[in-house]
């Protein structure tokens, strides 16, 4: 049986699960009526049960539905931040590998600099500086997560440039732009996607932690971080499900994305994956 769970099947499985999660998270906004998640004091402070899988909070709101809504916010923020970051990483990586020695030196130095600062601190600082809220959060995450992928892309491009077929292409009269788009970019696309997917968990977790700390999204928007922050007050009252359930869901989703990304990376580039 174990043989059947080869890497390709795992990727398919994880992708399907991920699709379900996304569907659930976003479908909530579309399909489920507001009333289902509305405060209902008669149902307040209930532990998990069949009717309310995650229990209800102090206002009587169904926590499962609220968490799903929060998940959709976290996912959106995560995806947006990761996209900006990944695109920036690719541009910077290519610039470093194809530019002059001096430019490469400067970019590498900047990469080392950014990587050297503990990035939670950096994210907080940046989102604070950009004014808190969604814009600050996006800026904070995007400006700190491009470094790993940029390094990878730079290494890939450097290695590709030394291949004989690139030299042949040039001798056949092709311009640098042509070589970039026809030879280099197709090689980079898989790395880009894998890097992008692996960034999501980071971005989502950061969003959660920043919002938890109060620097991120406003409390009206039920991102998971907010939900968790609010639940802190009620832990001592014994309402453990308010923290544990959303927390577990967050961990599960993040793990799922991470596994998906790692398996994809193993398929795309077997030598760099860390299991």
């Amino acid at each position: 049986m174990k043989r059947h769970w080869n890497r390709r099947r795992k990727v398919v499985l994880y992708t399907v699960l991920m699709a379900l999660v996304v569907l659930a998270a976003f479908a909530y906004g579309a399909l489920i009526p507001e009333s289902a998640a509305a405060p209902d004091f008669s149902q307040a402070k209930l532990p998990p049960s069949l009717a309310h899988p995650f229990g209800t909070d102090w206002l009587g709101r169904d926590l499962f539905l609220r968490t799903l809504k929060g998940l959709s916010v976290s996912l959106t923020v995560g995806v947006a931040a990761s996209l900006i970051s990944a695109v920036a990483a690719v541009l910077i990586g290519i610039a470093a590998a194809t530019g002059s020695r001096a430019a490469d030196g400067v970019i590498t130095w900047i990469i080392d600099l950014v990587m050297g600062v503990p990035h939670t601190v950096l994210v907080i600082l940046i989102s604070f500086a950009c004014g808190r809220g969604l814009k600050g959060l996006l800026a904070g995450i995007a400006l700190t997560h491009w470094t790993g992928l940029a390094r990878l892309i730079r290494a890939e491009v450097l290695q590709l440039r030394s291949q004989p077929y690139i030299a042949v292409s040039r001798r056949l009269g092709k311009s640098s732009g042509w070589i970039l788009t026809r030879h280099l970019l197709p090689h980079l696309v898989p790395q880009f996607f894998v890097g992008l997917i692996l960034m999501f968990p980071h971005a989502i977790l950061h969003e959660a932690s920043i919002s938890f700390l109060g620097y991120g999204l406003p409390p009206e928007q039920p991102a998971i971080g907010i939900i968790l922050a609010e639940s802190m007050k009620y832990l001592s009252a014994g309402m453990w499900w308010l923290a544990v359930c959303p927390g577990l869901l967050l961990v599960a989703v993040v793990l799922l994305i991470d596994r998906l990304g790692e398996n994809l990376r193993r398929i795309v580039d077997p030598y760099s994956a860390q299991e």
């Binding site: 291949q163 004989p164 077929y165 030299a167 042949v168 292409s169 001798r171 056949l172 009269g173 092709k174 311009s175 030879h183 197709p186 090689h187």
Partner: protein
């Protein structure tokens, strides 16, 4: 047309030894010259210099008196010993050929390149078949000079004879100049009209 190397000197950087030190070599259109020497004497380096892949540290490589162009189609095309390194592994072979111009079915037919191979990826074909693609790609560019760096050393004798016979036919038809780097004297004598010994830096009698 005449391709020549005048007092060619080359080393990779200031700390490395000289790979080539004052080499004089030339080949004209219609001529076929072999370059022979034991390994380590810089035959491949000379091939790379003649085709414009490397710039000389000293001396010059001239085509009809002018240096080789840095941009655009280089009139001197090189074919490597290892075809799998000279082809983008992510491209289909049709794209590889089209890089040098639109497909010339006559050339393809003469090299025994089957239509079904065009849609395949390089990893699906053997070294001999890939080398046919590299040769066809070079010939389809229509350039007057061809440098073959040990192109059949890794191939079996039948594939070697197939490829060389076709190169000779094309070279004859177009009046191309041919340089063949090889360590196989029997092949050199069969294919070329003169032989240049890089170790002794002199032309040998055939």
């Amino acid at each position: 047309m005449r391709l020549e190397a005048n007092k060619l000197r080359f080393r990779y950087d200031r700390r490395s030894p000289w790979v080539l030190d004052g080499v004089d070599f030339s080949v004209s259109a219609g001529e076929r010259t072999a370059i022979v020497a034991p390994s380590g004497f810089g035959k491949s380096t000379l091939a790379l210099l003649l085709a414009g892949y490397l710039s000389p540290t000293g001396g010059q490589v001239l085509l009809d008196g002018a240096p080789l162009p840095k941009k655009g189609l280089c009139p001197v095309q090189l074919i490597y010993q290892h075809p799998e390194r000279a082809i983008n592994p992510r491209w289909r072979l049709r794209q590889v050929l089209e890089e040098s111009g639109s497909l010339d079915s006559a050339v393809l037919a003469s090299f025994g390149i089957e239509a079904q191979w065009l849609d395949r990826f390089p990893r699906e074909l053997s070294g001999g078949e890939l080398q046919r693609f590299c040769v066809a790609r070079a010939l389809m560019s229509g350039v007057p000079f061809l440098i073959c760096d040990e192109i059949s050393t890794m191939l079996d004798v039948i594939t070697q004879a197939q490829i060389w016979n076709r190169i000779l036919a094309e070279a004859e038809k177009r009046g191309m100049g041919l340089v063949a780097v090889t360590h196989n004297m029997a092949l050199a004598k069969r294919v070329c009209t003169s032989v240049f010994d890089l170790e002794k830096q002199e032309y040998m009698a055939l």
